[in-house]
Symmetry: C3
Subunit: 486 residues, 3 copies
């Protein structure tokens, strides 16, 4: 039997029924990924397996470095084939790491190679077989999106982005997925270094056609961009935060407006001032989301760029990010409550990177459910380092035990690679396996229609309803308990 076979990871008959009868055929709503809209607009072709598979994939880079591969063969100037061979040699070392599963799922689903395990011994044949396919239309950026059954795809974009590629994709829209932007204003909150913020203000002024001489101007310009993103179909903001900023600071001379003006004059803020300013900006962005009916995504728990040598050499996203342990509960509660008590809390997805906070986040989400929007506050899917079979299982467990699994909006790839869509299949298999095991042992009823309905909600229907993407606003909530979602 091939390693990747029809029942991969499905350990009970119940799991197999759930997966094959309910999950397998569903479209993909990938509401958070880092794919390039330019590549989609250009329907990019890839020159080699290395370009489409290894370039930009810091998961693989970390694995290769750990196995003693020289940087030259990872991000350096070695040839595509040399780099691929090193990766192939590393793969057998990644047993039990998600890379092992991802690698073989991607070879099977995108290239149809399900009879070969990648290693030094098979590197040549895999290189040849994939290379031959890379020239074909179904292996272009759009070809892959179509063959993977992607219905909606949300990229991550800076407010100053022109969204020209999104426009081009929209205008040419054929049978492919809707490709929508996400409003990620992290650079607007990077206030520590005056030159960086000044430079960002320049870009923001230009893209918004306004002048920025104050925090009010700055917020106003962001709001114009927010409105423009909305017109382009954007319905989600996103924040990558090292901590949740929820300072309730003073106004006046020590307030955010004054601090902001000082930064424009080149005066770096104190640590406390920076938090106060970021808190003010984050709050304004949430209010914009609420006004426009968007959802906000909060990503917390990463400690980024900890290896300064690599930061100098390759910049960010080079595989040198870690998991942080900053306090979370009080500031997250304050942030959510400060909006909720004014009736201004948008739908929110909370992603945590330190798994020790899984239950904390799941419990916090439950506090701010308002009974008006089902699943209003979401405990987000297992993210980044946690996107593993075990990590997903723990997220599903924490969410199930402390909240309502059936209201979950499901998985994302969070990937920079066009080959990553089988991560949805991976999640669906894990979800069906967890539920199937519970059916088999009598912990939930052996009712395939009941449990299969939950599977369909989590894997597709909830996301379609919850996000309110253009064209899907009127999707009804098709669950068994209609009354509960009045």
């Amino acid at each position: 039997m091939n390693f990747i076979h029809a029942d991969f990871l499905l350990e009970t008959p119940e799991a197999r029924t759930l997966y094959h009868d309910y999950a397998e055929g569903l479209p993909i709503i990938d509401y958070h990924c880092h794919l390039s809209p330019e590549a989609i607009a250009a329907d990019r072709r890839f020159r080699s397996l290395t370009e489409i598979w290894l370039a930009g994939d810091h998961y693989k880079w970390r694995a290769m470095r750990t196995c003693g591969v020289d940087e030259r063969f990872i991000t350096g100037n070695a040839s595509d084939r040399e780099k691929f061979d090193r990766w192939a040699a590393t793969v057998p070392r990644t047993l039990r790491n998600p890379l092992y599963h991802w690698t073989h799922l991607e070879l099977a689903r995108v290239f149809g190679i399900d009879d070969t395990l990648l290693s030094s011994a098979t590197a040549g044949v895999v290189w040849e077989r994939c290379g031959a396919l890379l020239g074909m239309p179904q292996l272009s950026a759009c070809g892959i999106l179509r063959s993977m059954n992607v219905e909606v795809l949300c990229t991550v974009d800076d407010p100053v982005d022109s969204l020209e590629f999104h426009a081009r994709i929209r205008d040419e829209e054929g049978p492919g997925p809707r490709v929508l932007p996400t409003f990620r204003a992290d650079r607007a909150m990077a206030v520590e270094h005056p030159p960086a913020l000044q430079s960002y203000c320049g870009m923001l002024a230009e893209s918004s056609g306004t002048e920025i001489r104050s925090l009010a101007d700055f917020i106003g310009a962001l709001r114009l961009r927010h409105e423009y993103f909305h017109s382009m179909g954007c319905r989600i903001s996103d924040h990558g935060l090292d901590a949740v900023y929820a300072a309730e600071g003073p106004g006046g001379a020590a307030g955010p407006e004054a601090v902001f003006r000082n930064i424009l004059r080149g005066v770096a803020p104190s640590a406390g001032e920076a938090v106060a300013l970021r808190s003010a900006i984050l709050r304004e962005l949430a209010l914009m989301d609420d006004e426009q009916g968007w959802a906000q995504q909060i990503h917390v728990g990463a400690l980024r760029n900890v290896r300064s040598a690599m930061m100098r050499l390759r910049g960010p996203d080079a595989g040198c990010d870690a998991i942080g342990d900053a306090p979370l509960a009080s500031s997250l509660a304050r942030f959510l409550d400060s909006l909720d008590r004014e009736g201004r809390l948008p739908r929110t997805i909370l992603f945590n990177l330190n798994p020790r906070d899984n239950e904390l986040v799941a419990a916090m989400a439950g506090c701010f459910q308002d009974g008006l929007t089902a699943g209003k506050i979401q405990y987000g899917p297992a993210w980044w380092f946690l996107d593993t079979e075990g990590g997903m299982t723990r997220q599903i467990d924490a969410l199930s035990w402390l909240g309502i699994l059936g209201e979950f909006v499901g998985m994302v790839t969070d990937s920079r690679s066009f080959l990553s869509f089988p991560r949805h299949e991976y999640f669906r298999r894990v979800l069906c396996n967890v539920l199937g095991r519970d059916m088999a042992r009598g912990a939930i009823p052996p009712d395939a229609a009941l449990v299969g309905g939950l599977v369909q909600d989590v894997c597709y229907r909830n996301a379609r309803r919850w996000f309110r993407f253009p064209g899907t606003e009127h999707v009804s909530h098709t669950v068994t308990t209609d009354e509960a979602h009045g």
Copy 2:
């Protein structure tokens, strides 16, 4: 086969033997619950399933809000039947949440309904069948306690409480359980708001028949109430703490006495002063426990009332409490050591709400075992958000791996509902399942008498011995290793 059947959650023959031969028939010692002594004294009857099942149950409220049920049907002015119907519609969405198990265990054990899964489709018939039974004597408050085989039940009471209902229950004591109070002085430690503490001092002065003009007076009044509670059979104190208060502050002008007097004069304490004062009070309460031979319960890790809109609308305990992440190790160690080094540490049960601290708490308990009282420091059972099949399993695992499972005093309902006693059955099934699986895989000996003895200790005998409730002080420690408990 019915969902709730004889072998529910018992996955191995060994587990079934343990449960049916050793655990199933044991009485219940529910040493921590929030039932109303007034309802017991009055042998209350319930007008509807909504009143007995949904009123006050913030677990269900959270689930309903998450599923998009309007607050009117949760805590609002909708009719009992409307509220029940919304709950019934929500139940199928709670798959994998303990509510799903609790709901059907309670229907089966209290109402004898084990052939029906609650949903919109079955709401009517369940409402009718339960309604018919609610008029019967076995469904009164005391009828339920008797049918559930409750031997001892400890309510949670404020020191100013007159305990009149406990007295009435005691005086009428028939075949029902002993109903004993617990001394929970949380309001005595809520020192931040002078008016609240002043008001509490007024109540405490009245109930103790003393004047309170100083911290010494305050402690003295609490001591009188502690003695009164003792005379009423109380043998446990309880503290709900957002952090363990173990400041070793100065005396004199900046000391707790001075801070307390300032509060009586309306001066709010600083954060540091508040901690110092709470530390002083917590310590005095522990000393009282030690003098009287009581056990103290410490509940840490909750972050309460985080949603201020709901706090204004419904007050506390409305389903808007979260899990906190305050540092724990140093303060907990200091608190326990400050008592232990004077030979004044009472028996203690440590409950944590953030499961990331399970191992920390289990290890800390092990440090202060004194060899004189078996299981002197207890790592308490899985509490609140952790009272799930998985949460209990993790508590059992952490306790087993870092401590001695066989000395554990076992489960509590911690509930506000008379229908919650099947949570003891739930725990017993989980415990037997864990142990049975270990027997089946050879990780512990397949000796039913040995393992069954441990089950009986944990489910009943340890609590009966350890708590020293009136009438049970002389229960011997009936375990196999008598010498070890000399």
Copy 3:
């Protein structure tokens, strides 16, 4: 079937194949233990089972105290037999604690007693059978090391230690293991109490033959000892830290040199000064390791000696240590980066005691892999309270999911007892069981040679290669993917 049998803990046919065909016969490299080099040099004989098994074993002491055994029978003046009988009576209470497994593995492997479970009922016969064997040569210190197939053993030693016993063992080296020292300078970092540091400076001055009047002198003296240790075959340093010290403080009057000189004059440092000084010393020690090609071990997360009554009575290591919860991510990242950015980061093993930090540590290790040394930064094995079947499984899981299991250097006993070597067998069984289960369920390929190679790497070959102990420097990395380790 005996409790300890050939397939103990091996739940699948795959696990049995992995263990018996790949792991079972491998030698032991115990790179971290607390055995006495004096006892090895003297080839010590043991007068009783109590002396060899209970003396110094604070794991057992905690268990006995928890079960209500009086201190007299634990660390007090009771007879050897009385103490043993209390331990035997405690053993059945330790079900699910690793002590139960360790006890019976040790009886089976060292004394050949695999047909008896220890309890009060069997205490007499076990005492007799073991006592008879204790007189035999194979039960001497060296006899045990030989019969346990120990190839390398690293003790833990203070820099001022003369290593005379290591010299004697080396000079007499016969068929036994290499016994190498570890450079553990914890006392050099205990700077809070001037008299203690002054006293330590005295010892260090004497052992190094230098005068110590400054921090530079102090570091210089440590460096001389480091060189001496190197000449004696030492290749590892070790640090037991309550937090990772990575302050980047000022120089000059407030700098570490000034603080150090003040301490020598009897002036205790402030908390901040102590951290700055410890940071400076820790950094210097790491630089020495880098110069000599050593690896450094970092142990974090313990909160030691929390029970002051026991500290006064018995001193440290008496079973009153807990798990701490100090912040870890930022300081650990700063420490590693401050060395890495200068190209001076030695190979490092990170041990954490609070399991909530498992994923944090595993992710951090991955950030500093440099591609030059395979597995350069190691997430260390499950340590102390985590050295349980479940704790090891979680460590293996976190390491596998976030890093590369196949580069792991494997297990240590970390023990003070000559009977503890079966803990390596215990780890190997757990590892094979985890991998065998994954093979059985199709999560990794059912290729015994592939997975068995990984088992051999983790259980023996990686340690042999990675540590570069004298005589093994030229061991090649014999894994399947030779190219990856160029």
